[in-house]
Subunit: 277 residues, 2 copies
């Protein structure tokens, strides 16, 4: 079979990835799910034509989205992951022995099944005995657990897909209610080069709901513009620095996250800072 | 004329940009030069098929490559730019009133002419009366000015093109000789996701030649992987922090560089840090 290129383009530019084989193409109740074998980036997952991860660089996104909020919390015991059906955030969160509860609320069971079949090094996050899977709409699920979680991580698709309710102000207010005192959230918050209006809106909404908010950027080559942000918020004074040291044995295992990059990720270029004024 | 897409691909993935018009396509003594009107990113310059800049995001690269070494120096009087024929680094450097000498050594006069014709907002860097243009091979030119410059900025193409000599160890030794005491260099140092071996080599060479070295990453969506690095080196103890404050009236004009992002750019992800051990 000849190689071909899969392109994700928007606003006049995009990413293109060389593919050697289509491994899966199906339509779930919520979205189109495609898995490709790429020539150089390992396997790649797309939802509705949008690249969700490649084996090449998923570590960058998953490590930062998980470890920033978990290390920004003094002593997290109960975690909720909203979305994140591939299991990558669970895999990283599982490296925190202090966690007692690891709930995940994913709307699309077929994403989980697909990840378990084609991405064993990502979906291994589900092997952790602390994990409880809830197949539900995260924007509804979160209303049922008032004052329960220490950390909530939202690993969503873009606002156009089934993740749309996760970008609304009500969801941020509901997350706040679902947290115990001292709680921290981190949400997938798009690229400031590509979607500055969404970055700005999520930041402003978070600012209204939480005492502190920060926008952390993460270098992920296969996302459009090569960067994506996490909106991190909570009721600490300084959400942008780790609340406790990173154990050396964990630091040695990580490929992206470290305590310096935790802080540095929140130092935004001036054009991004101005979105938040 | 129908739109088409111009793609720069390498190692199984790449960038693709929607183009509405080809404005210039010629071959100089050194390389192929193309200028396109894009649909959303302004005009775009390619050398030998490699994207050099788009009007959309050139500010990120030019601001960081110029202001990091200039603010890492206590009081820079004499600057040399090697390469950088488009004028973008000169434009940014010109915002430093303390500079008395602004030499540029570009090998290809046709790059300068093309920039002056098609990129007035970039090539305006040449309007500064302090600028002196030298059409020559930077790796030779630099040998003629021992102990002369305070800051040298190397804005080169990739190692495959006419910029190849600028990636060798001898050039770093020659730059060191061309500096006055306290001098600082910054060189285009590629993406650690795409070319980790080159990033590593430039860092190690710099470490042998200079007292301090750091690798600063810059978010530039239209470069492959969306990030590029500057290798910054000098004989200060801490090359990764500004040596003096950024004047507020300059800070207000900049879109990317600020004193916090200066320091933060040097906090590398763990997989990048390990290249330097």
């Amino acid at each position: 079979m000849a190689d071909f290129w899969v392109t994700e383009a928007m606003n006049g530019f995009g990413m293109t990835v060389q593919v050697t084989e289509e491994l899966c193409s199906k339509r779930s109740e919520f979205q189109k799910i495609d898995v490709y074998q790429t020539s150089k980036l390992g396997r790649m997952l797309l939802l509705d034509g949008i690249i969700q991860l490649t084996e090449f660089d998923e570590f960058a996104y998953h490590e930062m989205l998980a470890h920033i909020p978990l290390f920004a919390h003094e002593n997290p015991k109960r975690l909720l992951v909203v979305g994140g059906g591939d299991g990558g955030v669970l895999r990283e969160a599982g490296k925190h022995p202090e966690l007692e509860v690891m709930d995940i609320c994913e709307i699309d069971a077929e994403v989980i099944e697909t990840a378990k079949k084609f991405f064993p090094n990502v979906s291994c996050g589900y092997d952790d005995p602390r994990v409880a899977v809830h197949i539900a709409d995260g924007s509804e699920f979160i209303k049922d657990r008032p004052g329960y979680y220490d950390v909530i991580i939202v690993d969503s698709t873009d606002p156009g897909g089934p993740g749309a309710p996760l970008f609304g102000e009500q969801f941020y207010r509901d997350m706040k209610k679902a947290l115990r005192p001292g709680g921290v959230i981190a949400t997938q918050a798009e690229s400031p080069y590509l979607l500055p209006d969404i970055v700005q809106r999520l930041y402003k909404v978070s600012e209204q709901v939480f005492r502190s908010v920060g926008y952390a950027s993460i270098l992920v080559p296969t996302y459009p513009t090569g960067t994506i942000g996490a909106c991190v918020a909570g009721d600490r004074d300084d959400i942008a620095s780790p609340a406790r040291p990173v154990p050396p044995e964990l630091a040695a295992k990580l490929r992206y996250y470290n305590s310096k990059i935790h802080e540095a990720a929140f130092a935004n270029p001036s054009f991004v800072k101005r979105l938040f004024d």
